[in-house]
Protein backbone atom coordinates (compact mmCIF):
# COMPACT_ATOMS: atom_id res chain seq x y z
CA UNK A 1 0.00 0.00 0.00
CA UNK A 2 1.40 3.39 -0.95
CA UNK A 3 1.64 6.31 1.42
CA UNK A 4 -0.93 8.44 -0.35
CA UNK A 5 -3.75 5.94 0.00
CA UNK A 6 -2.92 5.31 3.61
CA UNK A 7 -3.88 8.83 4.57
CA UNK A 8 -6.61 9.28 2.04
CA UNK A 9 -9.79 9.46 4.09
CA UNK A 10 -12.02 8.72 1.12
CA UNK A 11 -10.59 5.23 0.63
CA UNK A 12 -11.11 2.25 2.87
CA UNK A 13 -7.95 0.35 3.64
CA UNK A 14 -9.35 -3.19 3.57
CA UNK A 15 -6.52 -4.24 5.85
CA UNK A 16 -8.15 -7.54 6.69
CA UNK A 17 -7.89 -8.86 3.17
CA UNK A 18 -4.75 -10.47 1.80
CA UNK A 19 -2.91 -8.29 -0.70
CA UNK A 20 -3.95 -10.19 -3.82
CA UNK A 21 -7.64 -10.06 -2.90
CA UNK A 22 -7.85 -6.31 -2.44
CA UNK A 23 -8.31 -5.75 -6.14
CA UNK A 24 -11.53 -7.73 -6.12
CA UNK A 25 -13.27 -5.51 -3.62
CA UNK A 26 -14.48 -1.95 -3.77
CA UNK A 27 -12.53 0.36 -1.48
CA UNK A 28 -14.64 3.46 -1.93
CA UNK A 29 -16.32 4.93 1.09
CA UNK A 30 -20.12 4.68 1.11
CA UNK A 31 -21.88 7.98 0.67
CA UNK A 32 -24.84 9.36 2.52
CA UNK A 33 -28.05 9.50 0.56
CA UNK A 34 -29.99 12.70 0.44
CA UNK A 35 -33.77 12.72 0.70
CA UNK A 36 -35.64 14.26 -2.22
CA UNK A 37 -37.82 17.37 -2.13
CA UNK A 38 -40.15 17.54 0.83
CA UNK A 39 -43.48 16.35 -0.53
CA UNK A 40 -42.03 13.75 -2.88
CA UNK A 41 -40.03 12.31 0.00
CA UNK A 42 -43.16 12.29 2.17
CA UNK A 43 -45.01 10.33 -0.47
CA UNK A 44 -42.13 7.89 -0.95
CA UNK A 45 -41.79 7.45 2.81
CA UNK A 46 -45.44 6.54 2.94
CA UNK A 47 -44.82 3.86 0.32
CA UNK A 48 -41.72 2.63 2.16
CA UNK A 49 -43.59 2.44 5.43
CA UNK A 50 -46.31 0.31 3.92
CA UNK A 51 -44.06 -2.07 2.09
CA UNK A 52 -41.59 -3.42 4.61
CA UNK A 53 -39.60 -6.38 3.40
CA UNK A 54 -37.92 -8.35 6.14
CA UNK A 55 -34.57 -9.95 5.72
CA UNK A 56 -35.09 -13.62 6.41
CA UNK A 57 -32.07 -13.99 8.65
CA UNK A 58 -32.88 -15.39 12.07
CA UNK A 59 -29.95 -14.39 14.23
CA UNK A 60 -31.09 -15.97 17.47
CA UNK A 61 -33.97 -17.49 19.38
CA UNK A 62 -36.17 -14.55 18.40
CA UNK A 63 -36.39 -15.89 14.87
CA UNK A 64 -38.69 -18.56 16.24
CA UNK A 65 -40.99 -15.84 17.51
CA UNK A 66 -41.22 -14.29 14.06
CA UNK A 67 -42.75 -17.41 12.52
CA UNK A 68 -46.17 -16.94 14.16
CA UNK A 69 -46.30 -13.51 12.49
CA UNK A 70 -46.51 -15.19 9.11
CA UNK A 71 -49.29 -17.56 10.11
CA UNK A 72 -53.00 -16.99 9.76
CA UNK A 73 -53.32 -15.95 13.39
CA UNK A 74 -51.15 -12.83 13.28
CA UNK A 75 -50.79 -12.42 9.51
CA UNK A 76 -48.14 -9.75 9.04
CA UNK A 77 -48.91 -9.55 5.30
CA UNK A 78 -51.94 -7.39 6.02
CA UNK A 79 -49.55 -4.66 7.25
CA UNK A 80 -47.52 -4.86 4.06
CA UNK A 81 -44.75 -6.84 5.76
CA UNK A 82 -43.30 -9.72 3.79
CA UNK A 83 -40.20 -11.86 4.23
CA UNK A 84 -37.48 -11.70 1.62
CA UNK A 85 -34.62 -14.18 1.33
CA UNK A 86 -31.86 -11.84 0.19
CA UNK A 87 -30.38 -8.74 1.87
CA UNK A 88 -30.22 -7.01 -1.52
CA UNK A 89 -33.97 -6.62 -1.67
CA UNK A 90 -35.03 -6.34 1.94
CA UNK A 91 -35.44 -3.11 3.84
CA UNK A 92 -35.94 -4.21 7.44
CA UNK A 93 -33.40 -6.20 9.40
CA UNK A 94 -34.70 -7.83 12.55
CA UNK A 95 -32.02 -8.76 15.05
CA UNK A 96 -33.85 -11.73 16.49
CA UNK A 97 -32.44 -12.09 19.96
CA UNK A 98 -28.89 -12.67 21.15
CA UNK A 99 -26.11 -12.09 18.68
CA UNK A 100 -22.89 -13.98 19.19
CA UNK A 101 -19.69 -12.52 17.81
CA UNK A 102 -19.75 -14.98 14.93
CA UNK A 103 -23.31 -13.94 14.06
CA UNK A 104 -22.50 -10.27 14.49
CA UNK A 105 -19.97 -10.57 11.70
CA UNK A 106 -22.70 -11.94 9.44
CA UNK A 107 -25.14 -9.30 10.67
CA UNK A 108 -22.72 -6.56 9.65
CA UNK A 109 -22.12 -8.14 6.24
CA UNK A 110 -25.84 -8.53 5.59
CA UNK A 111 -26.65 -5.06 6.88
CA UNK A 112 -24.10 -3.44 4.61
CA UNK A 113 -25.42 -5.33 1.61
CA UNK A 114 -28.91 -3.96 2.10
CA UNK A 115 -29.81 -0.97 -0.03
CA UNK A 116 -30.72 2.36 1.49
CA UNK A 117 -32.99 3.31 3.12
CA UNK A 118 -32.78 0.40 5.54
CA UNK A 119 -34.19 -0.07 8.99
CA UNK A 120 -33.18 -2.23 11.95
CA UNK A 121 -35.41 -3.60 14.67
CA UNK A 122 -33.69 -5.03 17.77
CA UNK A 123 -35.90 -7.76 19.13
CA UNK A 124 -35.73 -8.90 22.74
CA UNK A 125 -33.53 -7.97 25.67
CA UNK A 126 -30.30 -9.50 24.43
CA UNK A 127 -29.43 -7.04 21.65
CA UNK A 128 -30.52 -4.13 23.88
CA UNK A 129 -28.47 -4.75 27.04
CA UNK A 130 -27.25 -8.31 26.87
CA UNK A 131 -30.32 -9.91 28.41
CA UNK A 132 -29.60 -13.21 30.08
CA UNK A 133 -26.32 -13.43 28.19
CA UNK A 134 -24.99 -10.15 29.61
CA UNK A 135 -21.86 -11.75 31.08
CA UNK A 136 -21.18 -14.21 28.28
CA UNK A 137 -17.75 -14.21 26.70
CA UNK A 138 -19.18 -14.55 23.21
CA UNK A 139 -22.39 -12.51 23.09
CA UNK A 140 -22.51 -8.82 22.43
CA UNK A 141 -24.37 -6.62 24.85
CA UNK A 142 -25.53 -3.73 22.70
CA UNK A 143 -26.21 -4.15 19.01
CA UNK A 144 -26.47 -0.37 18.60
CA UNK A 145 -22.70 -0.12 18.99
CA UNK A 146 -22.24 -2.12 15.78
CA UNK A 147 -25.17 -1.10 13.57
CA UNK A 148 -27.70 1.69 14.03
CA UNK A 149 -31.05 0.60 15.43
CA UNK A 150 -34.38 2.30 14.75
CA UNK A 151 -36.78 0.43 17.01
CA UNK A 152 -36.18 -1.62 20.15
CA UNK A 153 -38.72 -4.21 21.25
CA UNK A 154 -38.04 -5.36 24.80
CA UNK A 155 -38.99 -8.74 26.17
CA UNK A 156 -37.59 -12.22 26.41
CA UNK A 157 -39.04 -13.00 23.96
CA UNK A 158 -41.58 -10.36 22.91
CA UNK A 159 -44.99 -11.69 21.98
CA UNK A 160 -46.08 -11.30 18.33
CA UNK A 161 -48.44 -8.54 19.44
CA UNK A 162 -45.54 -6.45 20.70
CA UNK A 163 -43.62 -7.12 17.49
CA UNK A 164 -46.58 -5.77 15.55
CA UNK A 165 -46.60 -2.74 17.87
CA UNK A 166 -42.91 -2.31 17.09
CA UNK A 167 -43.64 -2.37 13.38
CA UNK A 168 -46.30 0.30 13.93
CA UNK A 169 -43.71 2.48 15.63
CA UNK A 170 -41.25 1.88 12.81
CA UNK A 171 -43.90 2.90 10.28
CA UNK A 172 -44.53 6.08 12.23
CA UNK A 173 -40.82 6.87 12.30
CA UNK A 174 -40.45 6.25 8.57
CA UNK A 175 -43.42 8.45 7.75
CA UNK A 176 -41.95 11.23 9.88
CA UNK A 177 -38.64 10.81 8.07
CA UNK A 178 -36.76 9.95 11.26
CA UNK A 179 -35.63 6.45 10.31
CA UNK A 180 -32.33 7.48 8.75
CA UNK A 181 -30.17 4.79 10.30
CA UNK A 182 -28.28 4.12 7.10
CA UNK A 183 -27.07 7.71 6.90
CA UNK A 184 -26.15 7.67 10.57
CA UNK A 185 -24.11 4.54 9.96
CA UNK A 186 -22.21 6.09 7.09
CA UNK A 187 -21.68 9.36 8.95
CA UNK A 188 -20.15 7.57 11.95
CA UNK A 189 -18.57 4.79 9.93
CA UNK A 190 -15.21 5.03 11.68
CA UNK A 191 -16.75 4.70 15.14
CA UNK A 192 -18.85 1.72 14.09
CA UNK A 193 -15.91 0.08 12.35
CA UNK A 194 -13.69 0.53 15.41
CA UNK A 195 -16.32 -1.12 17.61
CA UNK A 196 -16.82 -3.95 15.13
CA UNK A 197 -13.13 -4.62 14.75
CA UNK A 198 -12.69 -4.63 18.51
CA UNK A 199 -14.75 -7.80 18.81
CA UNK A 200 -14.30 -9.42 15.40
CA UNK A 201 -10.71 -10.55 15.67
CA UNK A 202 -10.42 -12.31 12.31
CA UNK A 203 -11.57 -9.49 10.07
CA UNK A 204 -11.18 -11.23 6.71
CA UNK A 205 -13.69 -9.18 4.74
CA UNK A 206 -13.56 -5.75 3.11
CA UNK A 207 -14.15 -2.80 5.38
CA UNK A 208 -17.49 -2.12 3.74
CA UNK A 209 -19.36 -4.97 2.09
CA UNK A 210 -20.90 -3.45 -0.98
Amino acid sequence: MTKETKHNPSILENNGLPEFERDYFCDARPEQSRPLAKYIEKFLNWARANSLWLLGFGTGCGAVELRPLMTARYDMYRYGIAPRPTPRQSSVFIIGGYASVKTTKRIIRSYEQMQQPKFVIALGSCPINGGMYWDSYNTINRIDHYIPVDVYIAGCMPRPESIIAGFDLLKKLIKEGQAEGANKYIENLDWYKANQKKIIKDWNMPDYNW
Binding site: A47, R48, S51, A72, R78, G80, A82, P85, R88, Q115
Partner: protein, 303 residues
Protein backbone atom coordinates in the same frame (compact mmCIF):
# COMPACT_ATOMS: atom_id res chain seq x y z
CA UNK B 1 -45.92 12.04 -38.44
CA UNK B 2 -49.26 12.53 -36.75
CA UNK B 3 -49.94 8.86 -37.38
CA UNK B 4 -46.81 7.82 -35.57
CA UNK B 5 -47.52 10.13 -32.68
CA UNK B 6 -51.04 8.82 -32.37
CA UNK B 7 -49.81 5.21 -32.44
CA UNK B 8 -47.21 6.05 -29.81
CA UNK B 9 -49.86 7.65 -27.62
CA UNK B 10 -52.14 4.65 -28.03
CA UNK B 11 -49.31 2.26 -27.23
CA UNK B 12 -48.47 4.27 -24.14
CA UNK B 13 -52.06 4.16 -22.91
CA UNK B 14 -52.32 0.48 -23.74
CA UNK B 15 -49.14 -0.42 -21.84
CA UNK B 16 -50.19 1.74 -18.91
CA UNK B 17 -53.56 0.02 -18.71
CA UNK B 18 -52.09 -3.46 -19.01
CA UNK B 19 -49.43 -2.70 -16.38
CA UNK B 20 -52.04 -1.62 -13.89
CA UNK B 21 -54.23 -4.54 -14.83
CA UNK B 22 -51.34 -6.94 -14.16
CA UNK B 23 -50.70 -5.37 -10.77
CA UNK B 24 -54.40 -5.51 -9.97
CA UNK B 25 -54.53 -9.22 -10.86
CA UNK B 26 -51.51 -9.77 -8.66
CA UNK B 27 -53.00 -7.98 -5.68
CA UNK B 28 -56.35 -9.65 -6.17
CA UNK B 29 -54.84 -13.11 -6.25
CA UNK B 30 -52.73 -12.44 -3.16
CA UNK B 31 -55.92 -11.45 -1.39
CA UNK B 32 -57.81 -14.50 -2.63
CA UNK B 33 -55.04 -16.89 -1.62
CA UNK B 34 -54.85 -15.21 1.79
CA UNK B 35 -58.57 -15.69 2.25
CA UNK B 36 -58.19 -19.34 1.27
CA UNK B 37 -55.58 -19.60 4.05
CA UNK B 38 -57.98 -17.95 6.48
CA UNK B 39 -55.92 -14.75 6.64
CA UNK B 40 -56.86 -11.14 6.09
CA UNK B 41 -54.18 -10.75 3.46
CA UNK B 42 -52.39 -7.72 2.09
CA UNK B 43 -54.42 -4.86 0.69
CA UNK B 44 -55.19 -5.05 -3.03
CA UNK B 45 -52.95 -2.06 -3.70
CA UNK B 46 -49.92 -3.75 -2.12
CA UNK B 47 -48.20 -4.48 -5.51
CA UNK B 48 -48.24 -0.75 -6.36
CA UNK B 49 -46.68 0.07 -2.99
CA UNK B 50 -44.02 -2.60 -3.44
CA UNK B 51 -43.11 -1.40 -6.89
CA UNK B 52 -43.02 2.23 -5.77
CA UNK B 53 -40.83 1.37 -2.81
CA UNK B 54 -38.37 -0.58 -4.92
CA UNK B 55 -38.00 2.28 -7.36
CA UNK B 56 -37.62 4.69 -4.41
CA UNK B 57 -34.53 2.95 -3.01
CA UNK B 58 -31.75 5.51 -2.72
CA UNK B 59 -28.81 3.30 -3.66
CA UNK B 60 -28.16 0.53 -6.13
CA UNK B 61 -25.30 -1.87 -6.74
CA UNK B 62 -24.39 -3.07 -10.21
CA UNK B 63 -22.23 -6.05 -11.02
CA UNK B 64 -21.42 -5.14 -14.62
CA UNK B 65 -22.89 -4.36 -18.03
CA UNK B 66 -24.88 -7.55 -18.42
CA UNK B 67 -26.31 -7.05 -14.96
CA UNK B 68 -27.69 -3.72 -16.19
CA UNK B 69 -28.99 -5.21 -19.40
CA UNK B 70 -30.61 -8.29 -17.83
CA UNK B 71 -33.69 -6.55 -16.42
CA UNK B 72 -33.90 -4.36 -19.52
CA UNK B 73 -33.94 -7.40 -21.82
CA UNK B 74 -36.58 -8.89 -19.57
CA UNK B 75 -38.72 -5.76 -19.84
CA UNK B 76 -38.15 -5.67 -23.59
CA UNK B 77 -39.33 -9.28 -23.75
CA UNK B 78 -42.46 -8.46 -21.77
CA UNK B 79 -43.24 -5.32 -23.76
CA UNK B 80 -42.50 -7.09 -27.04
CA UNK B 81 -44.83 -9.92 -26.15
CA UNK B 82 -47.60 -7.52 -25.32
CA UNK B 83 -47.14 -4.99 -28.13
CA UNK B 84 -47.55 -7.52 -30.94
CA UNK B 85 -50.83 -8.91 -29.61
CA UNK B 86 -54.17 -7.20 -30.19
CA UNK B 87 -55.49 -6.83 -26.65
CA UNK B 88 -59.03 -6.00 -27.74
CA UNK B 89 -60.31 -7.10 -31.14
CA UNK B 90 -61.64 -4.22 -33.20
CA UNK B 91 -60.30 -1.49 -30.91
CA UNK B 92 -57.86 0.95 -32.48
CA UNK B 93 -56.29 1.89 -29.18
CA UNK B 94 -55.71 -1.64 -27.94
CA UNK B 95 -54.83 -3.21 -31.27
CA UNK B 96 -51.19 -2.37 -30.47
CA UNK B 97 -48.82 -3.31 -33.30
CA UNK B 98 -50.53 -6.59 -34.07
CA UNK B 99 -50.48 -5.88 -37.84
CA UNK B 100 -46.66 -5.82 -37.85
CA UNK B 101 -45.93 -9.16 -36.25
CA UNK B 102 -47.37 -12.62 -36.11
CA UNK B 103 -47.55 -15.40 -33.57
CA UNK B 104 -44.00 -16.60 -34.19
CA UNK B 105 -42.60 -13.20 -33.24
CA UNK B 106 -44.62 -13.27 -30.03
CA UNK B 107 -43.31 -16.74 -29.21
CA UNK B 108 -39.80 -15.45 -29.78
CA UNK B 109 -40.38 -12.56 -27.42
CA UNK B 110 -41.66 -14.89 -24.71
CA UNK B 111 -38.31 -16.70 -24.89
CA UNK B 112 -36.16 -13.62 -25.38
CA UNK B 113 -36.72 -12.01 -22.00
CA UNK B 114 -35.83 -15.15 -20.13
CA UNK B 115 -32.55 -15.52 -22.00
CA UNK B 116 -31.58 -11.91 -21.31
CA UNK B 117 -32.46 -12.33 -17.67
CA UNK B 118 -30.39 -15.51 -17.54
CA UNK B 119 -27.32 -13.61 -18.69
CA UNK B 120 -27.93 -10.72 -16.29
CA UNK B 121 -28.56 -13.01 -13.33
CA UNK B 122 -25.44 -14.95 -14.23
CA UNK B 123 -23.30 -11.86 -13.87
CA UNK B 124 -24.76 -11.23 -10.43
CA UNK B 125 -22.65 -14.19 -9.42
CA UNK B 126 -24.97 -15.64 -6.79
CA UNK B 127 -24.99 -19.46 -6.93
CA UNK B 128 -28.75 -19.62 -6.43
CA UNK B 129 -29.21 -17.47 -9.54
CA UNK B 130 -27.24 -19.86 -11.68
CA UNK B 131 -29.07 -22.91 -10.35
CA UNK B 132 -32.46 -21.30 -10.89
CA UNK B 133 -31.52 -20.11 -14.39
CA UNK B 134 -30.60 -23.66 -15.33
CA UNK B 135 -33.89 -24.92 -13.91
CA UNK B 136 -35.88 -22.21 -15.63
CA UNK B 137 -34.38 -22.65 -19.07
CA UNK B 138 -34.82 -26.43 -19.01
CA UNK B 139 -38.41 -26.11 -17.88
CA UNK B 140 -39.08 -23.43 -20.49
CA UNK B 141 -37.73 -25.61 -23.26
CA UNK B 142 -40.03 -28.40 -22.19
CA UNK B 143 -43.24 -26.37 -22.01
CA UNK B 144 -42.37 -24.68 -25.28
CA UNK B 145 -42.96 -28.03 -26.98
CA UNK B 146 -46.69 -28.45 -26.25
CA UNK B 147 -47.18 -24.72 -26.83
CA UNK B 148 -45.45 -24.85 -30.24
CA UNK B 149 -47.45 -27.94 -31.25
CA UNK B 150 -50.62 -26.20 -30.18
CA UNK B 151 -49.70 -23.14 -32.23
CA UNK B 152 -48.95 -25.32 -35.26
CA UNK B 153 -52.35 -26.96 -34.90
CA UNK B 154 -53.96 -23.52 -34.79
CA UNK B 155 -52.02 -22.40 -37.84
CA UNK B 156 -53.22 -25.41 -39.78
CA UNK B 157 -56.77 -24.89 -38.57
CA UNK B 158 -57.01 -21.18 -39.38
CA UNK B 159 -54.50 -21.11 -42.28
CA UNK B 160 -52.84 -18.12 -40.65
CA UNK B 161 -50.26 -17.13 -38.07
CA UNK B 162 -51.66 -13.63 -37.63
CA UNK B 163 -53.25 -13.31 -34.20
CA UNK B 164 -55.79 -10.80 -35.49
CA UNK B 165 -56.98 -13.25 -38.14
CA UNK B 166 -57.14 -16.09 -35.63
CA UNK B 167 -59.33 -13.91 -33.40
CA UNK B 168 -61.44 -12.84 -36.36
CA UNK B 169 -62.06 -16.47 -37.29
CA UNK B 170 -63.40 -17.15 -33.78
CA UNK B 171 -66.01 -14.37 -33.79
CA UNK B 172 -69.72 -15.00 -34.03
CA UNK B 173 -70.76 -17.12 -31.08
CA UNK B 174 -69.20 -19.07 -28.28
CA UNK B 175 -69.05 -22.29 -30.31
CA UNK B 176 -66.57 -20.73 -32.74
CA UNK B 177 -63.94 -20.42 -30.02
CA UNK B 178 -60.90 -22.63 -30.38
CA UNK B 179 -61.63 -24.30 -27.07
CA UNK B 180 -64.70 -25.85 -28.76
CA UNK B 181 -63.45 -26.22 -32.32
CA UNK B 182 -60.03 -27.57 -31.35
CA UNK B 183 -60.07 -28.73 -27.71
CA UNK B 184 -56.90 -30.85 -27.98
CA UNK B 185 -54.74 -27.90 -29.03
CA UNK B 186 -56.41 -25.75 -26.36
CA UNK B 187 -55.58 -28.13 -23.55
CA UNK B 188 -52.01 -28.54 -24.73
CA UNK B 189 -51.72 -24.73 -24.77
CA UNK B 190 -53.31 -24.34 -21.33
CA UNK B 191 -50.86 -26.81 -19.83
CA UNK B 192 -48.06 -24.70 -21.30
CA UNK B 193 -49.72 -21.63 -19.75
CA UNK B 194 -49.58 -23.29 -16.33
CA UNK B 195 -45.84 -23.71 -16.82
CA UNK B 196 -45.38 -20.16 -18.08
CA UNK B 197 -47.19 -18.60 -15.13
CA UNK B 198 -44.78 -20.35 -12.79
CA UNK B 199 -47.29 -21.02 -10.11
CA UNK B 200 -46.96 -24.18 -8.08
CA UNK B 201 -46.41 -27.02 -9.07
CA UNK B 202 -44.23 -25.43 -11.75
CA UNK B 203 -42.60 -22.73 -9.59
CA UNK B 204 -39.21 -24.37 -9.72
CA UNK B 205 -37.50 -21.15 -10.79
CA UNK B 206 -38.42 -18.88 -7.91
CA UNK B 207 -38.82 -21.91 -5.59
CA UNK B 208 -38.98 -20.50 -2.06
CA UNK B 209 -37.05 -22.64 0.45
CA UNK B 210 -35.06 -24.24 -2.37
CA UNK B 211 -33.26 -21.54 -4.34
CA UNK B 212 -34.93 -18.58 -2.62
CA UNK B 213 -36.31 -16.38 -5.40
CA UNK B 214 -33.68 -17.68 -7.82
CA UNK B 215 -32.47 -15.45 -10.68
CA UNK B 216 -33.20 -12.02 -9.16
CA UNK B 217 -31.30 -12.83 -5.93
CA UNK B 218 -28.77 -10.06 -6.55
CA UNK B 219 -31.23 -7.66 -8.20
CA UNK B 220 -32.18 -4.69 -6.08
CA UNK B 221 -33.56 -1.18 -6.23
CA UNK B 222 -34.58 -0.14 -9.71
CA UNK B 223 -33.26 -3.39 -11.24
CA UNK B 224 -35.86 -5.22 -9.21
CA UNK B 225 -38.36 -2.48 -9.96
CA UNK B 226 -37.99 -3.13 -13.68
CA UNK B 227 -38.44 -6.83 -13.09
CA UNK B 228 -41.59 -6.18 -11.06
CA UNK B 229 -42.95 -3.93 -13.79
CA UNK B 230 -42.19 -6.58 -16.34
CA UNK B 231 -43.80 -9.27 -14.24
CA UNK B 232 -47.09 -7.38 -14.34
CA UNK B 233 -46.90 -6.61 -18.08
CA UNK B 234 -45.68 -10.06 -19.06
CA UNK B 235 -48.34 -11.77 -16.97
CA UNK B 236 -51.20 -9.89 -18.60
CA UNK B 237 -49.56 -10.21 -22.04
CA UNK B 238 -49.48 -13.99 -21.74
CA UNK B 239 -53.06 -14.09 -20.54
CA UNK B 240 -54.21 -11.83 -23.38
CA UNK B 241 -52.35 -14.01 -25.89
CA UNK B 242 -53.99 -17.19 -24.65
CA UNK B 243 -57.37 -15.49 -24.54
CA UNK B 244 -56.90 -14.48 -28.18
CA UNK B 245 -55.79 -17.93 -29.25
CA UNK B 246 -58.25 -20.12 -27.39
CA UNK B 247 -61.10 -18.08 -25.92
CA UNK B 248 -62.11 -16.06 -28.95
CA UNK B 249 -60.43 -12.76 -28.01
CA UNK B 250 -62.36 -9.87 -26.58
CA UNK B 251 -64.36 -7.10 -28.18
CA UNK B 252 -64.37 -4.81 -25.15
CA UNK B 253 -62.22 -4.29 -22.09
CA UNK B 254 -64.65 -5.95 -19.71
CA UNK B 255 -64.75 -9.15 -21.75
CA UNK B 256 -60.95 -9.02 -21.83
CA UNK B 257 -60.72 -8.64 -18.06
CA UNK B 258 -63.25 -11.40 -17.40
CA UNK B 259 -61.59 -13.90 -19.72
CA UNK B 260 -58.03 -13.21 -18.61
CA UNK B 261 -59.09 -13.36 -14.98
CA UNK B 262 -60.64 -16.79 -15.55
CA UNK B 263 -57.47 -17.93 -17.32
CA UNK B 264 -55.35 -16.68 -14.44
CA UNK B 265 -57.58 -18.34 -11.88
CA UNK B 266 -56.79 -21.62 -13.60
CA UNK B 267 -53.14 -21.14 -12.68
CA UNK B 268 -54.01 -19.96 -9.19
CA UNK B 269 -56.36 -22.84 -8.41
CA UNK B 270 -53.85 -25.37 -9.67
CA UNK B 271 -51.17 -23.50 -7.75
CA UNK B 272 -52.85 -23.59 -4.35
CA UNK B 273 -53.87 -27.22 -4.84
CA UNK B 274 -50.59 -28.90 -5.76
CA UNK B 275 -47.15 -28.97 -4.18
CA UNK B 276 -44.07 -28.11 -6.17
CA UNK B 277 -42.56 -30.45 -8.75
CA UNK B 278 -38.89 -31.12 -8.88
CA UNK B 279 -37.18 -30.01 -12.08
CA UNK B 280 -37.03 -33.41 -13.73
CA UNK B 281 -40.65 -34.18 -12.73
CA UNK B 282 -41.78 -30.94 -14.31
CA UNK B 283 -39.90 -31.64 -17.54
CA UNK B 284 -41.27 -35.19 -17.73
CA UNK B 285 -44.75 -33.85 -17.13
CA UNK B 286 -44.60 -31.41 -20.04
CA UNK B 287 -43.08 -33.97 -22.36
CA UNK B 288 -45.90 -36.40 -21.47
CA UNK B 289 -49.61 -35.69 -21.72
CA UNK B 290 -49.43 -32.05 -22.92
CA UNK B 291 -47.05 -32.91 -25.76
CA UNK B 292 -49.17 -35.90 -26.78
CA UNK B 293 -52.26 -33.69 -26.79
CA UNK B 294 -50.45 -31.21 -29.00
CA UNK B 295 -49.28 -33.95 -31.35
CA UNK B 296 -52.80 -35.36 -31.55
CA UNK B 297 -54.17 -31.90 -32.37
CA UNK B 298 -51.65 -31.46 -35.18
CA UNK B 299 -52.31 -34.93 -36.61
CA UNK B 300 -56.09 -34.52 -36.54
CA UNK B 301 -55.89 -31.30 -38.56
CA UNK B 302 -53.32 -32.74 -40.94
CA UNK B 303 -55.68 -35.56 -41.91
Amino acid sequence: MADILRTALYLFISVFVILNYGLLLNGLVRKIVARAHGRVGPPIWQPWLDILKTYAKRSAISHGVMFFLGPIFRLAGGLGTYLFIPAIYGSVMFANLSFSGDLLLVMYFIFFGQLGMALGAGEGGHPNSAIAVGRGLSQMTSFELPFALSVIALAIQYHSLSITEIVAAQQGGILNWTIFTNPLATFAGLFALLGMNMHSPFDIVLAPQEVPIGPPTEMQSSFLGILQTNRAIFLSAKLVLFMNLYLGGATNIFAMMLKTFMLYMLSVVVGVSFPRFRTEQSIRFFLGVPTLLGLAAVIIFML
